[in-house]
């Protein structure tokens, strides 16, 4: 391995045995086989690249399938035949319902929370059948005009493919579990053609915690899948970004208003889904056949009555909105109708994603708010495209509640960092409003409605973390020095009620000694000897005040008192901590 990758054996992390084996291999086997000694970590990185490639291939096919279905069902004409518009979503919904109920029961919904459940509950396992089912049913649903997007299904397809590839590899349980997020990032990156946003989304929404350990594989898989998709379908984004206007600082107010309106819209959207979904699920089983069809009928009716833009993922209409092709009134109507159509499609269990509809609603809402603002204040420099772009980030932050992704997604798709200030501001407003009015994020809500409880980055973010400094006690007196004699130490300690004393050991260590032991050394005639010469060679562990409190639990069982020392001067005692202190603090925190 080390020869193969030209890494010196001493830096490769291999054991001595490995090094000897490797040396033998170099002598006796062709060079290629030296790679056979890859560690699991490195093999997992290579595997991540392959997962990305396969996920990319799958997503390319998925996108073709959606387009072919759409052309087949709705036609290729600029204005599809009205009868098709009216009926195809309903027929598609009926067929999807049959497939979901009889063949692929695991493919309902978006796929994001199912992937998260796979990571935390099923050891990363998403059966390959689920990928096949998701592919067919989501393509059928989106292609027939249901108001859903291809990104979340791609995420689940990627995760499922990753499992299908990785479970045979005899990886450790930990690595097998990580296959799901690696595949998810690949699938999402390929579908959205934006690797940074995909990685962040998977970390924020699927993994639910920041973990440097998995970042490398997630990034590799995301990038390789994007490369594959661009190889086949080109590098153009899903919608073209018009030139963005340079904004004046005073215009931030306009973007703040967009953030506030977007926050309320996100709450309405989330609450509608959260309210309707369990109620429809509770209806008799036979109604499950009809629910997607009825949702499709309503969507078809919306299209028939003049708003076919709400059908399907709607990226082409996002593109048109960004290029000023709709009035603000039309944009506002489309945003409202899309919320209705997506809610209906989603709550009826039709497989498909929320990613594209969220972007659609955000773009339309942003464009509409920008249009109204510019109507009253014509001197505003922001174009419809700029407001639409910020609006997309706003809905991402408010509805999906992925604040990091929401900011980086806008920057990544626009390729323009000048927009970051309005985006952060508007997203912050939307996020705060959504957080205040809809306490549980939408994907967590869906997971809980399914009877599962999975970790959430939002919960983690808002969890109060206790530190050592919260529980430590002031330094006890006296603190002895290792250069002092036993006699001097005994004199200093004889008036104190405590029996355990900390000793500062030169140059930087810490030790401890009891009053009884000092007395015994004095009786044994060792009064003139220094404490340093009598202390055992093992030093006490020490902590710093900013460490999390849970770190103290590792040491408090080893010694009754753990010194807490300054980071700037390890000989300076800031306090001490004992097991009682830790427990007392935790008890107080719970109460």
């Amino acid at each position: 391995m080390s020869t193969f990758l030209r890494i010196p054996p001493e830096l490769s992390g291999a054991t001595q045995e490995d090094k000897c084996d490797a040396a033998d291999s170099v002598r006796t086997r062709p060079r290629f086989f030296v790679a056979a000694t890859l560690g699991e970590e490195r093999f997992f990185l290579i595997l991540a690249v392959f997962i990305g490639i396969f996920a990319g291939l799958a997503v390319v096919c998925f996108r073709l399938a959606i387009d072919w279905t759409r052309i087949g069902l709705l036609g290729a004409a600029p204005e599809p035949h009205m009868l098709r518009v009216l009926l195809m979503p309903a027929l598609g919904g009926l067929l999807v319902a049959v497939l979901v109920i009889h063949f692929f029961p695991q493919v309902r919904g978006s796929g994001v929370n199912q992937t998260k459940a796979a990571l935390y509950i099923f050891n990363g396992r998403i059966p390959f059948r689920t990928a096949v089912g998701k592919f067919i049913t989501a393509a059928l649903a989106i292609g027939s005009g249901h108001s859903l997007g291809p990104e979340d299904p791609s995420l689940q397809i990627g995760a499922s493919l990753a499992w299908a590839i990785g479970w045979r590899m005899k990886l450790s349980k930990e690595k097998v579990r990580l296959l799901a997020p690696v595949g998810a990032a690949a699938g999402l990156a390929a579908a959205f053609n934006a690797p940074i946003s995909a990685v962040l989304f998977v970390i924020e929404e699927v993994i639910g915690r920041w973990s440097a350990g998995i970042l490398g594989s997630v990034v590799l898989s995301a990038i390789s899948s994007v490369v594959v998709v661009r190889w086949f379908l080109g590098a153009q984004p899903l919608f073209r970004i018009p030139p963005l206007a340079v904004f004046r600082p005073a215009e931030l107010l306009a973007y703040a208003i967009l953030g506030i309106i977007g926050g309320f819209a996100a709450v309405i959207f989330a609450k509608a889904i959260g309210y309707l979904r369990p109620r429809l699920l509770a209806l008799p089983q036979w109604t499950q056949y009809l629910q997607p069809a009825l949702a499709g009928l309503v969507i078809g009716l919306i299209g028939y009555l003049g708003a076919p833009q709400v059908m399907g993922a709607g990226y082409e209409y996002i593109d048109q909105a960004m290029h000023d092709q709709f009035t603000w009134k039309i944009l506002a109507i489309l945003a409202g109708l899309k919320i209705l159509a997506t809610t209906l499609s989603f709550v009826t269990g039709t497989p498909g994603g929320m990613f594209a509809p969220t972007l659609f609603i955000g773009a339309m809402l942003g464009g509409a708010v920008g249009g109204v603002e510019r109507h009253f204040y014509p001197h505003l420099t922001g174009t419809t495209g700029t407001y639409a772009l910020v609006g997309m980030g706003v809905l991402f932050a408010g509805f999906l509640r992925v604040p990091m992704t929401s900011v980086f997604m806008v920057v990544e798709v626009s390729g323009d960092y000048s927009i970051i200030v309005p985006v952060i501001l508007a997203n912050a407003f939307a996020y705060v409003i959504s957080r205040s009015l809809q306490f549980i994020p939408i994907f967590d809500l869906l997971t809980r409605q399914d009877g599962l409880n999975l970790p959430s980055l939002e919960e983690q973010r808002e969890e109060s973390v206790l530190h050592i400094e919260d529980a430590m006690k002031p330094p006890p007196t006296p603190v002895l020095d290792s250069d002092e004699t036993v006699q001097d130490a005994a004199l200093q300690t004889q008036q104190t009620p405590s029996n355990l004393f900390l000793v500062r050991v030169n140059p930087t260590g810490w030790g401890s000694i009891t009053g009884d032991l000092l007395q015994r050394y004095a009786c044994e005639g060792k009064g003139e000897m220094t404490l340093g010469s009598l202390l055992p060679p093992q030093r006490l562990p020490y902590l710093h005040p900013d460490y999390p409190l849970e770190m103290a639990l590792r040491y408090v069982h080893q010694t009754p008192l753990v010194p807490v020392v300054s980071r700037a001067d390890l000989r300076k005692l800031e306090g001490v901590i004992s097991s009682e202190d830790v427990l007392e603090k935790y008890r107080a925190a719970i109460e």
Partner: protein
């Protein structure tokens, strides 16, 4: 499904990687075939929709064309031609802002593209933005064209001049025309177009030169002859004008204006008292005839009922002119005598004044002849 063991990858790695690579290659091959088929289908759809759009546009229905071009672009998003057609349709349907946004995005992708710059130039012409007109048309003239670059460049140049003339930017138009004529190939069609534009820009000297270049290439070109005649007429070169106008008439060019110009030119030449080679008696006779006609004109106009009243506070000049005319009549006896060499010019000055002051009265070709004779005493013969 068996639970995977936690056995690390050891000796199987090359086999696993080789297997995955083979599977990936097979996947690539399969997906390539699918994508190729998909793209062919998309291209065919896009082409069909584009052609429908073109037909709509040619039928003067830019709104319908717009929809078809948009639909074509959903199947072939990067097709430059479709994008350009969409932008043109947007412009033709009056959605200039949208068209501009679209064209600017195309221009950012291909700032040297002649067609895009021409479309932007036309848009700027609609917006009457002179700086942008010149900028984009120049980009188009010196830009890159996919087909017929020479012809497209010259067409763009001619179009720029036409736009400038339409916007009354005559100095810029003349400057462009002079530069253009220096670059024109020896092609009578191009030269004739340039000559017409010179005439439109009232640069008759250059117009005459261009028409002559055309006639040099094509002697029997009646349009060039007529143009040259008209340009010479405007320059007051009536002999030249008569020559070309007769040639145009001989070539069966039935045009009332040409005929009138020819008639006037001939009358001017017949009545011009300064024509070389005529006797002194004949010269004096012509001057007297011109003078008498001016007097009649003055009388007719003074007695005319339809004459426009003078502005308030302004003295009617005609009685004064009549008095001057009467005095000149007395002096006219001395015409031709020695020491009265400047009298002919004085007479013609008075004739000019009379014709100018009686311009508001209905004029006959003969009046126009008098005016032209009085104005162009030196150049009539040319």
């Amino acid at each position: 499904m068996p639970e995977p063991t936690s056995n690390p990858i050891t000796g199987r790695t090359p086999v696993v990687i080789a297997t995955l690579t083979i599977l990936a290659l097979l996947g690539f091959l399969g997906v390539t075939r699918l994508v190729n088929r998909f793209q062919e289908q998309q291209k065919a759809l896009a082409r069909h929709l584009y052609e429908q759009g073109l037909a709509e546009q040619q039928a003067g229905k830019p709104e319908l064309a717009l929809e078809h071009f948009r639909a074509a672009l959903t199947y072939s998003r990067d097709n430059f031609q479709y994008q350009l057609s969409l932008a043109r349709a947007l412009r033709d349907s009056g959605r200039t802002d949208e068209a501009e946004t679209y064209l600017i995005s195309l221009w950012e992708r291909a700032p040297q593209n002649g067609a895009v710059n021409l479309a932007l130039g036309r848009l700027a012409a609609r917006q009457k933005n002179l700086d942008k007109i010149i900028q984009y048309y120049h980009n188009a003239i010196y830009g890159v064209w996919d087909s017929n670059p020479e012809q497209n460049r010259l067409n763009a140049w001619f179009e720029l001049i036409e736009v400038l003339l339409r916007l009354n930017a005559r100095p810029q138009a003349q400057a462009e025309l002079i530069a253009l004529s220096a670059n024109l190939p020896p092609n009578s069609e191009w030269l004739l177009r340039a000559a017409d534009l010179f005439a439109q820009a009232q640069d008759y000297e250059h117009a005459l030169a261009e028409y002559r270049r055309v006639l040099h290439l094509d002697r029997s070109n009646p349009r060039a002859a007529a143009g040259a005649g008209e340009a010479a007429f405007k320059l007051g070169r009536y002999r030249t004008a008569a020559h070309y106008l007769e040639a145009a008439t001989r070539a069966n060019l039935q045009d009332a204006q040409i005929a009138q110009m020819l008639e006037i030119s001939n009358l001017v030449l017949q009545q011009d008292p300064f024509t070389r080679g005529i006797s002194m008696e004949e010269r004096n006779r012509r001057i007297r005839a011109v003078f008498d006609e001016a007097g009649q004109r003055l009388d007719t106009c003074m007695n005319s009922e339809g004459r426009e009243p003078n502005p308030p506070g302004q003295v009617d000049p005609l009685p004064q002119l009549k008095a001057q005319w009467a005095q000149m009549k007395q002096r006219l006896i001395r015409l031709g005598r020695t020491g009265e060499s400047g009298l002919a010019d004085e007479v013609m000055d008075l004739v000019l004044q009379v014709e100018q002051q009686t311009a508001s009265c209905s004029a006959t070709p003969q009046d126009q002849v008098l005016l032209l004779l009085a104005e162009n005493r030196a150049g009539v013969e040319q």
